[in-house]
Symmetry: C4
Subunit: 254 residues, 4 copies
Amino acid sequence: METVTVRYIGKKPRLKDPIFIEGLPGIGNVGKLAVEHLIEITKAIKFAELYSKDFPPQVFINADGTVKLVNNEFYYRKAKKKDQRDIILLTGDYQGLSSQGQYELVESILDVIEESGVKQMFTLGGYGLGHEIKEPKVLFATTHKHLVKTIKKYGAVFKKNEPGGGIIGASGLLLGLGKLRGFEGACFMGETPGYLVDPKSAKAVLKIITKITNIDIDLSRLEEKAKEIEHIAKQLNEMESMAKEKSDELHYIG
Amino acid sequence: METVTVRYIGKKPRLKDPIFIEGLPGIGNVGKLAVEHLIEITKAIKFAELYSKDFPPQVFINADGTVKLVNNEFYYRKAKKKDQRDIILLTGDYQGLSSQGQYELVESILDVIEESGVKQMFTLGGYGLGHEIKEPKVLFATTHKHLVKTIKKYGAVFKKNEPGGGIIGASGLLLGLGKLRGFEGACFMGETPGYLVDPKSAKAVLKIITKITNIDIDLSRLEEKAKEIEHIAKQLNEMESMAKEKSDELHYIG
Amino acid sequence: METVTVRYIGKKPRLKDPIFIEGLPGIGNVGKLAVEHLIEITKAIKFAELYSKDFPPQVFINADGTVKLVNNEFYYRKAKKKDQRDIILLTGDYQGLSSQGQYELVESILDVIEESGVKQMFTLGGYGLGHEIKEPKVLFATTHKHLVKTIKKYGAVFKKNEPGGGIIGASGLLLGLGKLRGFEGACFMGETPGYLVDPKSAKAVLKIITKITNIDIDLSRLEEKAKEIEHIAKQLNEMESMAKEKSDELHYIG
Amino acid sequence: METVTVRYIGKKPRLKDPIFIEGLPGIGNVGKLAVEHLIEITKAIKFAELYSKDFPPQVFINADGTVKLVNNEFYYRKAKKKDQRDIILLTGDYQGLSSQGQYELVESILDVIEESGVKQMFTLGGYGLGHEIKEPKVLFATTHKHLVKTIKKYGAVFKKNEPGGGIIGASGLLLGLGKLRGFEGACFMGETPGYLVDPKSAKAVLKIITKITNIDIDLSRLEEKAKEIEHIAKQLNEMESMAKEKSDELHYIG
């Protein structure tokens, strides 16, 4: 087996000019949360699994006691209305562990979507700020200049020199390597503190995807999750400041 | 030479519907101890050696002054009674060092056992608790749901969400990659503190293997080893608490 | 795709006995600064891009919101006068991350320049001193002994046993692997503190390149940059000594 | 180019049943020192260079200002007397950086010596004790049991379970992988503190090589070097104990 193996489940789906949307694990798990929610809401159908030797040598244990080898998974959702388009979705347990593994993962993903007729892609991720934020904005970067205007209309913003370090990981590489193959697309990065999984940021990103796909996505479940996480974050903050006080006291004594 | 090389010793054994049992080094060395004991007790015969470029570049020195290149080794044991089945056993000095090496190691192991006619596998390992334990339970995970009932009858237990991180290493990967090839099987994980080699946990795992294989395995030697280890653990604990006292004293002074 | 991919932009340029000059990121970014300046001043034309799986999986974001996959880039500049020669220039975002990646990067660079007819190369870098320096000298090392005399005439100096550890990275490897293929050349290393990007050291290196190429390079912009960096360095020093004082005070108290 | 490239210098030497002796960098640089001395004393002739992508991407700078790409080098020395045999010697700047690189390096070395007609090999290294030692013994390990008696006669000793961790690196791997190919041989490990290069230990190892090869090796230069190193070691020890005193004083104060 090569570094990456793609296993189709049954027949390959026949899709018409599909959009590709990626959300793998990353900062705040923003992209993964968003795509998982999209899969759930749209009842998208899994059609391929991707395995890589550059994922950890690990299986997860399902609730029924069976194992699941870590992987990435492709789903599709056919257009239901005239103003919608077919969609391919990708999420997964991991990105590649090494630089080389990341390049090979992304090339394999591009192989699958190229064969499926994809010409346009949107990659989703988080933009870690390192501090709390009330209303996360969604930053973007794109493969082609002519897309900038349209994308701004969707509500995404562009801040010059941000992210300063560019985009590291599959979301950036899909655009970078994809562009060399003739794909068009954009990366949407939801602002996030980056400490915990961030459903609020995922929600902000999905609002933009709603406009692109013309799919009415119920975001209430993400809102609930966001409240839970806020609660946990508050508790962690309290614990931390208590620990700090304790430690300060000790310093005064010592 | 490829990353992994398998060298058969003499003719390949002809086996009838053999069970495969794996026990490589890992937490508490539970799997390795169990399979080594099984090899010794059943006088299993070595039939193949597996070398990997992803093992350390190392030879061990035998008691007679000769060197032994680190490897994994396959043994077989033919059924002696009607209610027994042929068995293939695997143990070794190391697992792969890198993620990629682990995947390649496991694919090579699967090649060997597939060719030998194996359809069912049991992988043995430890489940590190990080604290002492009186009576180690044996957790399990399996490739197929229909196996769960049978396995519970053997005395293995299933705790939802444990191990939380799934199974990392060859024991999990054999099930995960094996399942994709059509193998059935289960992983048995003996609870263990995980600090030292743990013959007590290996014994618990072997009790289950006894029921699966219908081989009457004399476990007395493992019990002796368990007592030795308990003795060493006690001494280590005493030394540690003495060191802690010493260090606490110093803190009071400083 | 192999580890390294070279993508030509349009037709390959026809060059006559071109000199190759390399300046990739490194200590003080001396080589990269020098070659980037040279490209700008001589209005050199990009003719090829080099991508490697051993670069980080990263895109940068341009000022217009588009992404740029990290790479290395080849430029050429045709001779304008009788005493000049055609030049190929290489700079880029990264060197290879791993040892193997570095070797493969350099072999690919050598492939490109060999095909372009290059016989002579000059690689540019920094020599980190770890302390401030008034007038950076330019050290050199060469592929062939018969070049030493000429190179000294250009103003580069040779200090026995310096750099003690030899040259690590593309600048050294291009000479080392290039020599095995029959290339001639030298590496010029501008002395630099090594803490910050160092336009002053780049300027010193470019003075030598001026003599080799007979191109009159306007160095005023590098001088301006050097002043800016000196200003930043001074501020950093002040901040550091303030922090040190603060910390010393705390030590007296604690 | 593959991971490892071997470049012959001129015609391959025709050798009669040559012995192979390896001494690459390692603990106390014992093996390297011994083989370099042997090359010098016997005026052995270089016949091949080995380059590996798994060596650091580095060139050294020679005293004349030219660069030298890091490598391993093969030398040969023809028998001068009836009781001598042809010899192939290997030394070099580095061993492989990664596990996989080490395996590939050793396989390539075995290819060269197999083609040269070698059947017997001796690998030289150090055995790190972590403390000073008056008269370093030479430990050994061998590929075949029938060699043990002969080797003991040469003055090498065998301590059961030492080295406990076996032999890590090329010296061990050459025996381990070589044995699988049908080579015979032994590894000689000179006891060494392991802190500094250790000519005294190299001398002890060479005394055994003298007996094997029937070459009268002048060891006086190694003795001189050993004295220099002893002097340096003494100075380092004094500096360390002074630093310790200083630090103890501070602890009393603090």
